[in-house]
Symmetry: C2
């Protein structure tokens, strides 16, 4: 499980045995089964989570009781309510497992320790944030400019593995369209071939 994280880090900086020992002393492994909830709306987020296996998602529930998925986090992704679990304000999100999953938890203190002790970690964290930010901007633009079909196709192209693993109604929720519309888009696409 830690090996997955190690491999992930090795992509951006060399991990010495010493660093790895530090990492292992800070992150806490946790096993989740499909449906388990990591964070509930209103709770204070204590942890960020690295997904070593399986998939989590974060979502909100609107005033009409509808779920809206903010993020999918399959293997090698990080997930937390704020990017970087900050201040101690209560979360507006839920986070749960949509597959049986194995994750590694890190709290704020551990995060700061790693930033201080491992420059490579700090840099990798910064890069990661920047990528996420760019992706979020991209998603905002898409929601402003693209049709349902375009957004659906973009998703297939950008995250093909996620698209295959996730039930269609969740994909619809992420894209901000109804399951019915997703179904119709797929039908139309398959007919065209």
């Amino acid at each position: 499980m830690f090996e997955v994280l190690r491999a992930y880090f090795e992509n951006s900086f060399p991990v010495t045995e010493e660093s790895f020992a530090l990492i292992k002393s800070i992150l806490v492994p946790k096993t989740m089964t499909k449906g388990d909830i990591l964070l509930r709306e209103g709770e204070v987020a204590k942890y960020g989570a690295f997904v070593a296996k399986g998939m989590l998602r974060s979502y909100v529930i609107d005033n009409k009781g509808k779920e809206h998925i903010i993020q999918f986090a399959p293997e090698n992704w990080w997930i937390s309510d704020k990017t970087g679990l900050t201040d101690g304000s209560p979360s507006t999100f839920f986070i749960d497992a949509i597959e049986d999953s194995e994750i590694l938890l890190i709290d704020m203190k551990g995060h700061l320790t790693l930033i201080e002790k491992l420059p490579g970690y700090a840099a990798s964290f910064r890069t990661g944030i920047q990528k996420r930010t760019a992706a979020k901007d991209q998603r905002i633009v898409a929601s402003l400019t693209e049709t349902a079909k375009e957004r659906y196709n973009d998703f297939l192209k950008t995250y093909p593995t996620i698209a295959q693993r996730v039930p269609q109604h969740m994909l619809a929720s992420y894209l901000g369209i109804t399951p019915e519309t997703v179904s119709r888009i797929r039908k139309q696409a398959s007919r065209k071939k």
Copy 2:
């Protein structure tokens, strides 16, 4: 001009004379008049900008030639194409001044120097990023869950000063609705009083 930035920093950490001298040696002031472009699509972003006076915006142009505003940046905001001008990949954004403005430019090297030399700067940068990220998530959720009217009213509540300073069609562009719809929403709201 530097005084504005100093006051901004003082909100999150004490700025010694020495630090301030360093800051002044790194950031470069620039005056822009309304309409001046700081960054064009396809160019590589060299600078992040702190707005000391006036207002900038970032936007994209879609394949139908329509502008979509990503961000407004009035006084005391930072703006750049990626949050933190990273890698050297070309920008997908435009950034221009929508009022006569005075800004302070910082490049990647200067940014890293400040991170290294001023722990307060690094922390303030991290906090800033987290706030932005939360705001972006909020905006994504809003675009998924709220009606045009709700988003308009949210904007008025969240950014009253920006709403007053910015022409309506830009506000519409930011919210992802047409100027006509904004006009109708306002009419309806004023009738109700």
